[in-house]
């Protein structure tokens, strides 16, 4: 389950092999910077849409499974505790902020919508905790997607 060398491998993969420069300078100035930047961005978006996919595409299996399971568990528990899943019609600034945080879970947001058959119940502490679980899942997934993006850019991750 160890994926210690994969971040460096990903960095090498984005570096062109037919460059005349030294390995050190090649790592910092790739021949197709726009292409590798677009690839890194696509990996970041993939990681946002499906938690862990950004790392899985770079063969960081431990991180991919870890992200998928923790974000999935937080969403499942949040819905089970009847937390509030914000929608785009939030109204005030907190509603919008909550919507952005919830949307951070990517496709899991829609899975949570499907699972939330009874609706939210924030009148009790459980529902309030559930709301936090859902928001934390989104923010955590955004962090993981950003991490996958940085790793794809060749930054040490």
């Amino acid at each position: 389950m160890s994926d210690e060398t994969t971040a460096d491998a990903a960095a090498v993969a984005t570096t062109p092999k037919h460059s005349a420069t030294t390995p050190e300078s090649a790592a910092t100035t790739p021949a197709h910077p726009q292409r590798s930047e677009a690839l890194a961005f696509a990996i970041g978006v993939a990681g946002w849409l499906v938690p862990g996919l950004g790392h899985a595409l770079q063969k960081m299996w431990g991180r991919a499974i870890g992200c998928f399971l923790t974000v999935g568990a937080l969403v499942f528990l949040g819905v089970g505790m009847r937390g509030n899943l914000f929608s785009s019609e939030g109204g005030d600034a907190f509603g919008t902020l909550g919507y952005v945080a919830d949307l951070g879970t990517g496709s899991f947001y829609f899975a949570a919508k499907a699972l939330e058959t009874k609706g939210s119940d924030v009148a009790h502490a459980e529902g309030d905790y559930g709301t936090r679980f859902l928001a934390a899942a989104g923010v955590l997934n955004l962090l993981a997607a950003l991490h996958a993006y940085e790793a794809a850019r060749g930054r040490k991750a």
């Binding site: 870890g66 505790m81 009847r82 699972l115 905790y129």
Partner: protein, 64 residues
Amino acid sequence: MITAIGFHLSHFQAMTLFALLISIAFGFLSRRGTNERVKYFIWSLLLFLLIGVGIGWAMYPFSR
């Protein structure tokens, strides 16, 4: 047909579960190698619990 799910957790159980899951994710994301991850996970979990309980006690005088 999706069956409705429901969990009934106490404040402490919810906080512990939250700390557990976030610590696992932090361990995986910020460290390499199993040993480093386990160490970071334990350290993060302990701090989550300690600070959570500490803030709970600090707020007790203002709870009513």
